[in-house]
């Protein structure tokens, strides 16, 4: 059973709920589940059942695409108040791919089952509109990632990644391994290690076990642009 503050959060995150009938709202509220998730958990992938709509109350999750040969490409991150609809791909017509959703920081999320979403979407125009806007946003995110993939060399992509990570962690020192960076950027660990070593020699950052300290944000920004 969800608490009042939970219901308040859901209504805030999914504004179209204001426009649906009381009886349907009750169905949504009673079907909605709250989960507390630990870093490293995979809450959705090809093998798992469709998770439904996910609204993030706190924490951080990473949505990525896994290629057939196991390479990962980070598509976007979910932060508090973000909603993910690709986790309901089973009820989205013509979506033929599956994303993987991994918990990066301890998170609290609310999920609405895909089936309920599907029913709402059939019945309410406002829900359809919300779906379009949300899918479109993710589509734009993915196009941005694609742009990064082709238009920057790997050095630039690493610089962008490090800056993004520093912003997320609110710190110049970020906890990330070479392995993790290579997975995020869909390349080999050796390539990343070489680039990081190069950056260190160039005075852009300092490497230590499992951590990277950015020492020249200005030049990294110039490089990552």
């Amino acid at each position: 059973m969800l608490k009042d503050e939970d219901l308040k959060f859901i209504s805030h995150c999914l504004p179209f709920l204001k426009h649906i009938d009381k009886s349907d709202l009750d169905i949504v509220y009673s079907a909605c589940s709250k989960s507390i998730l630990q870093p490293g958990e995979i809450i959705m992938n090809e093998e798992k059942e469709c998770r439904g709509i996910v609204a993030v109350n706190s924490g951080q999750l990473r949505a990525y695409f896994e290629s057939e040969d196991g390479k990962e490409i980070t598509l976007y991150r979910l932060l508090p108040n973000d909603v993910c609809i690709l986790t309901a791909s089973c009820v989205l017509k013509n979506i033929t791919f599956e994303i993987t959703l991994e918990v990066e920081k301890k998170s609290t999320v609310f999920s609405i089952p895909a089936k309920i979403w599907s029913t709402l979407s059939e019945k309410y125009s406002s829900v359809k509109e919300y779906s379009i806007a949300l899918v479109n946003r993710r589509f734009s995110d993915v196009m941005w990632v694609m742009e990064q993939m082709v238009s920057k060399n790997m050095g630039q992509r690493v610089a962008s990644f490090l800056l993004e990570q520093a912003e997320l962690e609110h710190s110049r020192t970020i906890s990330v391994t070479h392995e993790e960076i290579s997975k995020n950027l869909g390349t080999a660990r050796e390539v990343i290690s070489r680039i990081l070593k190069y950056f260190e020699n160039d005075g852009l950052l300092k490497l230590s076990r499992g951590r990277i300290t950015l020492t020249d944000i200005g030049r990294l920004k110039k490089l990552g642009r």
Copy 2:
């Protein structure tokens, strides 16, 4: 003024038109324009006005994404009966990227202005549903392209591209320059020339000026898979 056969084609291509009021249908029909387009024409890109919904009656068009530094990535092709909605990106909420649409073969297309589409979409649930399904399909197309970008080496991508091209041209001999292949795959012309030379030495194809003849489809398929 469109002919009866034109209207018949539009209704066939855009099935939701069956569900809209006669008065709105008249608006759509009178705003819809027919264009005959020549190969090489760019009918939509960042600089041009939003084209609206495009329905292809005959011919072939290529939708691609152009990165800031001028690299092209082919996202999908439009063949007869295909409809493109990303050409109406100006009225699609949260779509922040622009595609370029290039005519590859002499084409006849019908366009419905973006503004009319937007009005229809606000008013009719069936139009919203159609939009979702179409955007989702293009999103899936793009994810497939992304999968190709990361999971295959360039040799495999070239093999896939040549086979696709042969299928489109209904011929083992395809008219394509190394430059065009490199643009399609977002890489340097030299890289493509090297791979093609390698394929020729390997007996997979024969190169001649502006043309490539596939001599071992079976092995190319195996390679491209």
